[in-house]
Point group: D2
Chain length 144, copies 4
């Protein structure tokens, strides 16, 4: 297991926040958001984060690198419900030469509903490759 980060439940520990609203299609017969639906929320937040720092995903892809998901971990603390406004807080958590981790905190009205970690690997032609240099530097800047 590469996941080595324990995500904080304090929103001020995160560098970026993306807000989204829960769709009815994402709920299940327990009346709450199905646990599999959190992963697309994390992905949407990552994409918006990368855009916000000047690296829209298609530019990364066109530069020849893809960022494959190697691991995902979610801890479900409180349910999410239809129409909830969810703040997905995220930060770059750790990098190696070819991988990086991101940590997430999902809040509704500032209450922690879930935490998560994803691990990603840079891939070129289906083989591991060095992270783009700006990605490696991101983790350094975040001081972690």
């Amino acid at each position: 297991m590469r996941t080595s980060v324990t995500p904080s439940t304090d929103p001020t520990d995160y560098a970026y926040t993306h807000r989204l609203r829960v769709r009815f299609a994402e709920t299940d017969a327990m009346g709450i958001v199905h646990h599999s639906r959190y992963l697309p929320y994390l992905e949407e937040a990552r994409v918006e984060y990368l855009r916000s720092i000047g690296h829209p995903y298609h530019e990364i892809h066109e530069a020849g690198t893809d960022l494959a998901v190697l691991e995902a971990f979610v801890q479900y603390r409180l349910p999410l419900r239809f129409d909830d406004l969810v703040d997905v807080h995220l930060r770059m958590a750790q990098t190696t030469r070819t991988t990086f981790q991101m940590a997430y905190l999902l809040c509704v009205d500032d209450a922690a509903h879930a935490t998560a970690v994803t691990v990603h690997g840079a891939v070129m032609n289906n083989r591991p490759t060095r992270l783009p240099s700006w990605l490696g530097e991101l983790a350094d800047q975040s001081g972690i």
Copy 2:
């Protein structure tokens, strides 16, 4: 609108049946299968039908043709629920030189829960192309 077929609610009008079981992840907060989840059921049944007549989808794709979805229509009659065993009955309904229609009936314990029609177009390099000849002949054989 190309859809021109009214699907029968009599299972004996259909050429092929694929059985599947409803996943919990496919339900919504009304306690029933979300209406968007029927389309993957139809797709799964199409894929199994094509395999059953000797044309697994990857062979069609490798022969250079893709089958794009042009239209989809679903009529929801009775809800589907978690763990239901659903019989997806289907038949080739009509073809033109470049398109075909399929009709569907979804039953649980022989009761009609939904009917549907999908229209597909043969596509090569993103442009409409003739249907593979065996596909055109299928509709002829079904006598419709």
Copy 3:
């Protein structure tokens, strides 16, 4: 089939527009948005439309009425791709005592990528019931 409306491809024919961005999780191996993923887009737009006219869905539900999907029709004209900004235009299209239809136009950069119609029935305790009066009046106001 209750669907009786032909959706216009002119955005100015629609009363409301909801903008959303395509998630990577909604694409498929053809590199485009999977055809089943359009239905949650329509639903998200409906929910925002109802909120915009002062009827958030949970108030309708708490007043004892649910709005079941009876039929859905989608015509796929041009593919949607990851990260596209999609304008979902919609309008109330027709009502009966217990049902209403909505028409949709999905555009990217003002080009029509899809049209759709959904038919909904008011349901109370799983039985058809009269539409809430404000819903019936909506269609009248739209002059259709």
Copy 4:
């Protein structure tokens, strides 16, 4: 983090196997199964496992207990592709008075494509409750 199990990559370490086939709707624009789609595979396998040992999910639910997902961890080793036949091997991994863990190995043609762990809590009226006794005994029987 409650997840404390390292799933084996040897299929013979698992008590139960459920086979499923990848749907086209589960792929993404990288041409592989989207990482969020593995969680419904695990869920489907859990449901079939519980049925196989005489405890279909609806009986657990009707007895007043729900099994909430508290945590999920997936390690993606090799991609899954459209039409792959996937063997989901699973075993009860560890229990406490109110929770249990399950470990999973996903194989295609006996090659390990993913491993996973889920943690579940027994819930009655939205509050943690003791596991049903047969569930606690399962872990004992598996000798782990």
